[in-house]
Structures are given as C-alpha cells and as structure tokens.
C-alpha cells in the first residue's frame, strides 16, 4: 500500500528527512502527529495538526479588544493577533470580523497583523487548521469549485477559520464540513463538484437562496 495512516511515534524513514510534523532521532524519521504517509511521493500529510503562524499567512480574526493604539484579535488559536492602529487607516469595533496578513510572531505568542480588512455580514465557520490546505486545493481548485457551486463569497484563514457571505450559505457550510471530513481522500474536488450539481439541480437551475438579511 502506497499510502499509510500514521500515528505519533510511527517510523517514516530509516534516514533523516526534513518534513513538517516529524522528528529525527538516531538518524531515523518519525511522525509526531497523525498523518498520511505516501511511500511513492515520499510525502507526509498531517491529518490533525495545529496552525503555526507563518509570515504572510492570511488569517480571519475577530476583534476582541480595542486599546489606544492597537486592536486585540482572536485567531481561534493559541496565538493572539494584534493590529497596530498607527499603521492602519481603518477603525474597528469589538466583534468585527477581519481578514489580515501575518507580519510576524513575537516571543509572547502575539501575531502582528497587517493589511486588516473588515468583513461585514455573512457567517464564519471554524475548521481544523490541518484541513485548510485541502479546502484551498492545489492551485486554488477547491476554493474555485466552492465559489462557483454556491455563488457565495468565501475567505479562508490559515488559522482555521472560513468566512462565507451571500449565495447558498447552507450548501457552502455543508461542503466545507464534507471537505473537512474527507480531506485525506483522493478525488474530493470531483465529489464536491457533484454535490453542487445535485444540490443545484434539485432546487432548479440558476436559483440561489438569498442571503439572510441583517
């Protein structure tokens, strides 16, 4: 079998390899989280892992505090976001949902954010961070499928949060749950496409539910 599901402590290779979520001990490489090891591609895809902020990661946050010169932003993770007001034009209120880019992570687990943009209305869904790459898909294929199939606006945060607005929000939610549950399987993009075709056929072509009014 080319693909194997590993658990923490399982041997990946008798030789030292540099891969995410693995550890090298005595010259051998071991998995540290659950993941799928592909013996042919020599790749390890974590199934359950946590987000570590990387420079220029796009995140979706919720403004949770406002100080004189900064905003505190919840990122659904260990790391707290901060937007420094003097660098930014926009003013925010507590409870606002924003999209922003990671500038840096400091030693107090604070993520300095830049280019914050307000996302008004819609709905947010918290997703396991390890499923986000699959939700975006190779060359954005999955996210394109999601937008075309539901006519929703979708923003994906690497921190494990998705914002959806407009179009068929319920269908988009279901699709995101499906992608999360089946992230480790092949042919998923096609199955999601089929899901949309069936859903849209059953409610009549071109007709999309109106967004919930505020």
């Amino acid at each position: 079998m080319a693909k194997k599901i590993l658990i923490p402590g399982d041997l990946i290779s008798e030789t030292p390899l540099k891969m995410k979520e693995t550890i090298v001990q005595d010259g051998k490489t071991y998995a540290t989280v659950m993941g799928v090891y592909d013996d042919v591609k020599k790749s390890f895809l974590p199934l359950e892992s946590l987000w570590f902020p990387g420079r220029s990661d796009i995140v979706i946050g919720i403004v949770e505090s406002a100080r004189l010169n900064s905003y505190g932003v919840d990122l659904n993770s260990l790391y707290k976001g901060i937007v420094i007001s003097k660098y930014e034009e926009t003013k925010f209120n507590i409870g606002d949902v924003i999209e922003a880019t990671v500038r840096e992570l400091d030693e107090t687990n604070t993520v300095v954010l830049q280019y914050p943009k307000l996302l008004s209305g819609g709905k947010i869904i918290d997703v396991r961070a390890s499923k986000i790459p699959r939700l975006i898909g190779k060359d954005n294929t999955m996210i394109k499928e999601l937008v075309e199939g539901t006519h929703s606006m979708v923003k994906v945060g690497m921190n494990g949060r998705v914002w959806i607005k407009g179009g068929d929000i319920n269908l988009a939610t279901e699709a995101i749950i499906k992608i999360q549950q089946e992230a480790h399987t092949s042919g998923l993009t096609n199955r999601v496409k089929t899901m949309f075709q069936q859903a849209n056929a059953s409610k009549g072509k071109g007709k999309v539910e109106e967004e919930v009014e505020q």
């Binding site: 919720i62 606002d96 949902v97 209305g121 819609g122 709905k123």
Partner: protein, 261 residues
C-alpha cells in the same frame, strides 16, 4: 456562557427572525433525544442522555443517613451537578459556579415538587433513612442542560435498584428491590431571542438569548418554574409557553416511559 462573536450572533438572529434556526429545526421542536439506561452498572441507577450535542450522565447512589430533623420519617434526596471542565472550554476546575448551583437546584426542585421519589418508602428505623444521591455529570455542553438533566434524572430514578440494609451495613449484592417512584416530571426550557420564543436552545442560541424560562410539569400540573437572565416575559408569552410545554411534555414522558423497565 459560550463566547460568541458579533457575526455569528447576527447570522443566528437573522435566522430566528425568519422563523428558522440552525440544524433545520423550527422554533417549537426538540433536537434528537436519546436515553441509555444502566450506562453505569456500578451505580444503583444511571442514564446517559444525548440531547443533540449536549451529553449528560446521571448516576444514582443510595446511602444511609440521618433524616432531616423536621422530617424524621422521610428519606433524603440530594441533587448535585458537575459542569465538568472537559464539557466546554468555558467550564473551569474549582468550586461550583453560580450557574452550576442554579442548574442543580432547578433540577432538584422539579423532582422534589412533583414527588417523583416516594420519600416515605425510604424510612429504615428511627434516625436512619435512605439518601438518594443524584449526580448530574455534564460531558459535552451544547445548551439546555435543564431539560436534558431532568430527563436523565427521572429516567435513572425510574431504573434504580435498592440495596438492602442489614445489621448496620448496606448490602449491594443481588439487589432485587427497586426505588419507589410516584410520579414523572419533565421540563421544557424556552429561550427568548428578539421577542421570539425557541424551545430547547443550543449553546449558541443561549449565548444570544435575552431570557429563559423553564417549566417543569407532570401530566396535569406545573411543578416548578425558573426564569433566567435579564429580559422579561409578557403574561401572554408565559401562557403560550405553559400551553406549549404541556403539549411538548407528552412526548418527553413517552420517551421516559419507553425506557422504563
């Protein structure tokens, strides 16, 4: 209470205004209910309750104690509730929070007021009576603990075995007797959100509700009520809630009866 962000609350309020809610339910229906009795064979009685994603275990233990001085011939009933820290990120290790205390007291009140347990049957001898310990353990929190716990407690009491008391010792081997039950009580909890009434609120709905009303009733009468939070109810709303509660509680009583031995 669960933290909720503005966008989520706007979304939920939007649904409520249209007569909808998450999980494809209407405002007057319960989530799926599943009761599993004898979940803890070591306990004298027990029930595992699933109300949607709310999961609770109720365990019953019998012990021998002195009666209350003002009721020397009656057994004791003690209802405790634990909001276990594994049930929600908001629950903390430590002494019971005011929420946990209110929760245990409301469940206790319904069971006591409805005379569910025949306390007279728990008299052993002078200065010795049985105490019924009802422990409500919340394993996963997704709202409406009151109704879930009342269902679990009544169902567990209905399936409780009686130990024997012989020569000053409690004998738990080969229990054949059953705890004597006189009545069945259930409760219906309603949330008021933007002047709409919703039965069986989830944790997200509870976090945006203005007020909450719990009615505990048996077949014919109201047995306990508890209003919670800052918002008021009009008399008309309360009447509507009472009417609907009597209607809805029929099914709840059936669920309990079905699992009874």
């Amino acid at each position: 209470m669960q933290k909720i962000n503005m966008i989520k609350s706007e979304y939920l309020r939007g649904l409520v205004a249209k007569g909808m809610r998450e999980g494809l339910r209407d405002h007057f229906s319960y989530r799926d209910i599943k009761l599993t009795n004898k979940f803890i064979p070591n306990a004298e009685g027990s029930t595992h309750v699933e109300l949607g994603n709310t999961k609770i275990v109720v365990g019953i233990k019998m012990g021998v104690d002195s009666p209350m001085p003002d009721r020397p011939t009656e057994g004791n009933l003690q209802v405790s509730a634990e909001l276990l820290p594994l049930a929600s990120a908001e629950y903390e290790v430590g002494p019971p929070s005011p929420d946990a205390v209110e929760f245990a007291r409301v469940v206790d009140r319904g069971i006591r007021a409805a005379g569910v347990v025949d306390l007279d049957s728990l008299f052993i001898e002078e200065d010795k009576v049985w105490t019924v310990f009802v422990d409500v353990y919340v394993l996963n929190f997704d709202g409406n603990l009151f109704d879930a716990a009342t269902l679990g407690a009544v169902s567990a009491l209905n399936n409780t075995k009686m130990p024997r008391y012989e020569d000053g010792k409690v004998i738990r081997e080969n229990m054949t007797g059953k705890l004597k039950i006189n009545n069945v009580v259930t409760s219906c909890t309603w949330a008021k959100i933007d002047n709409k009434l919703l039965l069986d609120p989830t944790s997200s709905e509870e976090s945006i509700m203005d007020s909450r009303l719990t009615i505990a009733n048996d077949k014919d009468n109201i047995r306990a009520m508890q209003k919670g939070l800052h918002g008021p109810f009009t008399a008309k709303e309360v009447e509507e809630i009472i009417d609907k509660t009597f209607e809805k509680s029929k099914n709840l009583r059936q669920i309990i009866e079905k699992t009874k031995e």
